[in-house]
Symmetry: C2
Subunit: 189 residues, 2 copies
Amino acid sequence: MKQQLSNYLNRYVSFSEDELDLFYSYLTPKTFKKKEYLLKEGESCKDKFFIIEGLVRIFKIDAKGNEKIAHFGIENWWMTNMESFILEQPSILYIQALEFTTVLTISKSKLEIAFENIPKLERLFRVITENMFVAIERKNELYMKFSSKERYHNLVDHIPNFAQRVPQYMIASYLDITPEYLSEIRKNK
Amino acid sequence: MKQQLSNYLNRYVSFSEDELDLFYSYLTPKTFKKKEYLLKEGESCKDKFFIIEGLVRIFKIDAKGNEKIAHFGIENWWMTNMESFILEQPSILYIQALEFTTVLTISKSKLEIAFENIPKLERLFRVITENMFVAIERKNELYMKFSSKERYHNLVDHIPNFAQRVPQYMIASYLDITPEYLSEIRKNK
């Protein structure tokens, strides 16, 4: 776990062994069974989750009771509800494990201490957040510009074995299309 | 200008006079006339712009030749095309002054030097980027959840004298409604 984290961190900023040890000491490993929730609507999101292995989805339930999936997260992604985490407000989103999932969690207060003691982390999270910002803008761009079929193939390209790991109805929910139309897309690839 | 910048910076992180002087030395003031472009499609976005005074819009021209406004920026906002700036790719967006606009610009290479010499800037930009991330997610949320009327009033509440400063057709473009429907919304407030 520690090795995976340090490989990940060193992609962005070069940390010393001491810095890595210290950061690792602020993190707590947790596991979630398939279908278990990392966060539920109405709870304040107090943690960031670094996914060691597994697959999660972030979604909300709209006024009509339908699930709307915002995105999926896999190995080496940080997941959180940024709005709830930063503003300390109740979440309108759920985060749920879709497979047995192992994460390293860090609370907001521990992360603040980590920033104080390991200033390089500011750079790491600055860069990660910039990348997330670009990703979300691209997602919106894709949404406006591309067909459901193109968006489906974009997903498949970015998440290994995606079609085997995520139930069809969730993929349809994410793409905002009917399951019937999704199965047409899959047939005509 | 320097005072305005330092008031802004100190809202997020407490900088010493020396740090402020040093950061200010990396910035270049520039002015743009009404309708002048800070960035055009196809150019690589090499700068971040801190708006001292004025009003700008970020927009693109879609396949049908229509302008699609992504957002507006006013005093004390950092504007850039994040994707083009980070990935050093040609921009698909335009940034244009809608009023006489004064900015402080910093290039990517100077910003990297500034990060090296003033580590607190990492924190500043980490926090700003997190806030931007939350803002864009909220905008998407608003877009999905609220009517054009509610989104119009949200704009009016956030940008002082908005309706006087921005031409009607641009507001309609931003809200993705017809100018006729916008004028109905404005009449029935």
